[in-house]
């Protein structure tokens, strides 16, 4: 996989991205290949993931159980116990990646993703405050996470804004605000009553292990409600050319930008409310997708497919490689950290 990846990224993008006609428009050929490949890989991995566990199943058994009409034991295991978690990983990974792709396109910076600017930690703070003030429950947790995350994103942007926005300042302000909020979170956790602290800390590690149909469906419905936001993607492409060019092409710049930000924030907020903060998917997936597709801008659909693949693989690692089931958030932090390091090394090499 890695050799193939390196091979692909070393290709000259110009030779590979000749446009070919496709239904509804012109799409670069390499982007399509990458998208199809990542969808197939995700499907294969999902079947493997459904087979893993205390009751190991072969891929054939999994597929049979998925489409079986009678309700045998294997069907229950696959459909009711394992499928929500796998589906959750795929859907949430895709949503996080789309959100990251929009943020990164709007800020024109690979680091401008919601996890870097402290959204997740802020969501945790909001959830903790809501749990202590309003009381335990899924509604107060989700609301708190939403408000906390939004407020943090706004504060970080305002603090980092000074005669224009610069990537480095954004990330360092994000690091600082994250460090502060982590302190606040620990303070709240230490003060909180035991049941609140328990509920909050399970959620706060970022885990898919508690996914079932009851928790998955509301989140998926909420995400589906947001889907019309994708209609703004053509405007995003125009905005990438610069505000003036976009305005010249007839785009209402401020309104499109606001709509896109709201869409992206809503996606990441819904996911965070459901699973807890899962870092780095929004950061890494769009960049990986862009590199694989060799495109100039960040491909939205490609990012979503790669994000689904990333989160599903991370959850498999979290679930099955260690003696205990660690939260997937820990795995994505480690993978994302490695990814950031290689990004830095590559960037440095290119400059020499």
């Amino acid at each position: 996989m890695s050799a193939e990846l390196a091979d692909r990224t070393s290709l000259d993008p110009r030779s590979e991205s000749l446009p070919v006609p496709l239904i509804g428009g012109w799409v670069p050929r390499r982007g399509v290949v990458v998208a199809v490949a990542s969808v197939l890989l995700t499907l294969a991995l999902a079947v493997v993931a459904l087979g893993f566990g205390d009751l190991p199943l072969s891929p054939a058994e999994v597929v049979q159980a998925l489409f079986a009409t009678d309700g045998g034991f294997i069907t229950t295991v696959v459909r009711d116990w394992r499928l929500p978690r796998v589906l959750g990983a795929v859907v949430f990974g895709g949503a996080l990646a789309i959100s990251g792709a929009i943020f990164q396109s709007l800020t024109r910076n690979p680091l401008g993703s919601p996890d870097v600017i402290g959204f997740a930690t802020g969501a945790y703070t909001g959830a903790l405050i809501a749990l202590t003030v309003i009381g335990t429950g899924a509604v107060s947790l989700s609301l708190g996470a939403l408000v906390g995350g939004l407020a943090t994103a706004v504060v970080v942007y305002l603090l980092a804004y000074r005669r224009g926005m610069q990537g480095f300042r954004l990330i360092i302000v994000g690091i600082a605000v994250t460090a502060m909020l982590q302190s606040v979170n620990l303070f709240l956790l230490l003060r909180a009553q035991e049941e609140v602290a328990m509920a909050a800390s399970i959620w706060g590690a970022g885990s898919l292990s508690l996914m079932n149909w009851g928790t998955l469906l509301p989140a998926v419905i909420a995400l589906a409600v947001c889907l019309p936001g994708l209609l703004l993607v053509p405007q995003l492409r125009q905005l990438e050319l610069g505000d003036d060019a976009a305005a010249a092409h007839g785009v209402d710049v401020e309104r499109s930008r606001l709509g896109l930000v709201l869409f992206a924030v809503a996606l990441v907020a819904i996911v965070t409310a459901a699973t807890g903060p899962i870092a780095f998917v929004a950061l890494a997936a769009p960049q990986v997708a862009r590199r694989l597709a060799g495109s100039a801008g960040i491909p939205i659909a490609g990012s979503a497919f790669i994000g689904a693949l990333l989160l599903l693989s991370a959850d498999l690692i979290a679930q099955h490689t260690l003696p205990v089931d660690v939260p997937v958030g820990i795995v994505t932090v480690v993978l994302g950290g490695f990814y950031l390091l290689t990004l830095l090394i590559q960037e440095a090499r290119r400059r020499t």
Partner: protein
């Protein structure tokens, strides 16, 4: 002079304040051995060791921050932000958890190895490239490596909660219930690190002017760097082994000191030795008072005060400097 008074006041506060408040006058009596009441054991067995650890760890953190900032010419450097403390914590988790290392000396050796490995790695990644690495790249490398190491550390801790019962408290950077036995090894090594730091102070002044100019002035750039990294390893490693990974002390103190004494590294280092323990001890005291009867770890308090300082710094500096 003012710093010495402040340090004395901080030490006194650290001895007097707590769940059981003891008046300063009585504290002095107990220290002189004139009082052997119930408060004496509180002072002698709990608060004196805690204060000693705060003093040593604080001085080590402050000076290692000053050294890193001088060597990398990076105003935002800090052993916590650059992942050095995370490296020490990681090595200690691996060593105690997987290899079964025990004892003060083994723990310290692990912390040094981890701190050394992390600082070399971060510096190597951060300084790749034609321009010799920008301060921002160094910070990103540190944060990324820190995230990786901290993630693996918490995964290790999660796999065996019983064995790591003390580790979770240690991870948040607290002065409470520390292994005082470590001081017998760490104390002298911290002193050694401080000595090295002071000895290379004048060379660090030359390095501040740029590598070329520094060697033209007769400073041995490479040798100074090596000594500086070794001193950082001793200082940051000891502090982490003593008090857990504590961030932002190494960032804040050298800046505050620089505003007062100017850019001479020798003065910055000498004053950081005194100023950093003041900050750490006061943070510890604040952590004891803020939510009785529980305590907030000192590392949490320093992050709460230190993060805004980082924001102010990054907003103040011009883009070219960063």
């Amino acid at each position: 002079m003012v710093l010495l008074v402040a340090l004395a006041a901080a030490v006194l506060a650290s001895l007097a304040v707590g769940t059981r408040a003891i008046p300063p006058a009585e504290v002095l009596q107990i220290l002189l051995g004139n009082d052997t009441g119930a408060n004496a054991s509180v002072i002698n067995d709990l608060r004196v060791p805690r204060t000693l650890i705060g003093l040593v760890a604080g001085a080590a953190l402050g000076v290692s921050g000053a050294l890193i900032q001088a060597v990398t010419r990076n105003p935002l450097a800090d052993p916590g932000i650059l992942g050095v403390n995370a490296g020490a914590a990681f090595a200690m988790a691996i060593g105690t958890g997987l290899a079964g290392v025990t004892g003060s000396f083994g723990t310290l050796a692990l912390a040094y190895a981890g701190a050394f490995g992390a600082s070399v790695l971060v510096y190597a990644i951060g300084s790749l490239g034609a321009d010799g690495g920008s301060p921002v790249r160094l910070i990103l490398a540190g944060v990324a490596l820190g995230a990786v190491l901290a993630g693996i550390t918490s995964a290790i801790v999660l796999t065996d909660r019983a064995r790591f019962a003390g580790m979770t408290a240690w991870q948040s950077g607290s002065l409470l219930d520390r292994d005082v036995g470590l001081l017998t090894w760490a104390g002298p090594l911290v002193l050694l690190g401080l000595g090295v730091a002071l000895a290379i102070g004048s060379s660090l002044n030359a390095i501040a002017l740029g590598d070329d100019l520094a060697s033209a002035l007769g400073a041995r750039v490479v040798r100074t760097r090596v000594f500086a990294v070794l001193a950082v390893m001793l200082l940051a490693g000891s502090a982490t082994a003593l008090a857990g990974p504590i961030s932002f002390v190494g960032l804040m103190v050298p800046h505050a000191v620089r505003w007062i004494v100017g850019p001479d590294q020798r003065w910055i280092i000498a004053h950081s030795v005194l100023a950093a323990p003041v900050l750490l001890l006061l943070a510890d005291v604040a952590g004891r008072v803020v939510m009785p009867p529980g305590e907030l770890p000192a590392g949490i308090v320093t992050a709460l005060i230190g993060a805004p300082v980082l924001i102010v710094l990054v907003r103040r500096r011009r883009a070219s400097e960063l």
